[in-house]
């Protein structure tokens, strides 16, 4: 009750209800990261071009699917709201769009980057001297991005997601270069955790927000 006197808390609650309450954001995020964990395997099977087409198609399907579920399932339960077009909201919107584009760019770069080679590559040798600067930067970018989102929207699990996914990516690349793992197992586990949280949130949402007739 005390938070109703705090306008910034009310604004945050509005954003949480619209964007994070139904768990669809988590499911989308988990699906994208799961796809990125599997991509080295499918690239072995399909080749880089077909793999890229497959992943872009999958990404489009996820985004469209999420929008449809949000429109037909979440919106009738949460209700309709139009937020005020304040300077802070516009700024938040622009920053979010830029961050999403940067993430999308990173996904593309990852998908297009050359891999280690064939899974059956007999010349594979561990490379303990490899620099992990790019992966460390990715960890910091993901950690900072999700922490920013978590802070702005007041959603604490986003802090956890950012650092977990960043660390999982670093560990996956390390294992790829030192143990020859083609499947990004740590990243798949991180994506699995996000998917489980998303499913739990979606079930809880369906239970807590029944359809409402006026």
């Amino acid at each position: 009750m005390s938070q109703i006197y705090d306008l910034s808390q009310v604004k945050r609650r509005n954003l949480q209800l619209i964007a994070f309450e139904d768990g669809l954001f988590d499911l989308l995020l988990g699906s994208v990261y799961m796809a990125l964990a599997i991509y080295p395997v499918t690239r072995e099977l399909l080749g880089p071009i077909l793999n890229l087409v497959l992943y872009l198609g999958w990404l489009a399907l996820l985004v469209v699917g999420q929008l449809l579920i949000r429109y037909f399932v979440s919106k009738p339960r949460i209700g309709y709201v139009r937020l005020r077009n304040t300077l802070a909201m516009r700024l938040l919107f622009i920053i979010t769009i830029v961050m999403v584009l940067v993430t999308f760019g990173l996904v593309l770069v990852t998908l297009l980057s050359p891999g280690l080679g064939s899974a059956s590559d007999v010349t594979f040798a561990p490379n303990p001297d490899r620099s992990y600067l790019v992966e460390l930067i990715t960890l910091l970018v993901l950690g900072a991005f999700f922490s920013f989102l978590g802070y702005m929207f007041g959603v604490r699990r986003l802090y956890f997601y950012g650092w977990m996914v960043g660390l999982a990516y670093l560990f996956s690349v390390y294992m790829e270069h030192n143990a020859g793992w083609i499947f990004f197992f740590p990243q798949a586990i991180a994506a699995g955790v996000i998917l489980v949280i998303g499913f739990v949130l979606l079930l809880r949402f369906l239970q807590n927000y029944p359809l409402h007739g006026e």
Partner: protein, 121 residues
């Protein structure tokens, strides 16, 4: 010049508490305050959203909205989205000013209420 909100006489009946008497009682009711605070932060919301945001029951929300509409604090627009009825709610300019006035009055009153309460033995 002594401020109106400070102690000004020996009877002690002017300790800034008069601010509280000026509070808009229509807004001061917790459920209505919740409704207004939510509507203050958005441009427009429908009935379902307001139920979720305030966690009030349908009947409770309807009766409070009727009072707020009668005071011209809230504008209610009934319509349809497809075949489903939809009630859109928006804070009027008068309602927005009333919320702002309420906030400043309460902030002033609470500021004047500083100090340690007497402790019982």
């Amino acid at each position: 010049m002594e401020s109106k909100n400070k102690v000004t006489n020996e009877t002690g009946n002017d300790h800034g508490l008069r601010e509280l008497a000026q509070v808009d009682r229509l807004i001061h009711e917790p459920a209505r305050l919740m409704i207004l605070m939510v509507l203050y932060t958005v441009d427009l919301a429908d009935f379902t959203y307001l139920i979720n945001a305030t966690e009030l029951t349908d009947g409770n929300l309807s009766s409070h909205l009727a009072k707020l509409e009668a005071a011209n604090y809230v504008e209610i627009e009934k319509g349809y989205e497809g075949k489903r009825p939809r009630t859109l709610l928006r804070l009027t300019e008068e309602g927005r000013l009333a919320v702002e006035s309420y906030r400043s009055t309460m902030q002033q009153a609470l500021q004047n209420m500083k100090g340690e309460p007497d402790k019982c033995a």
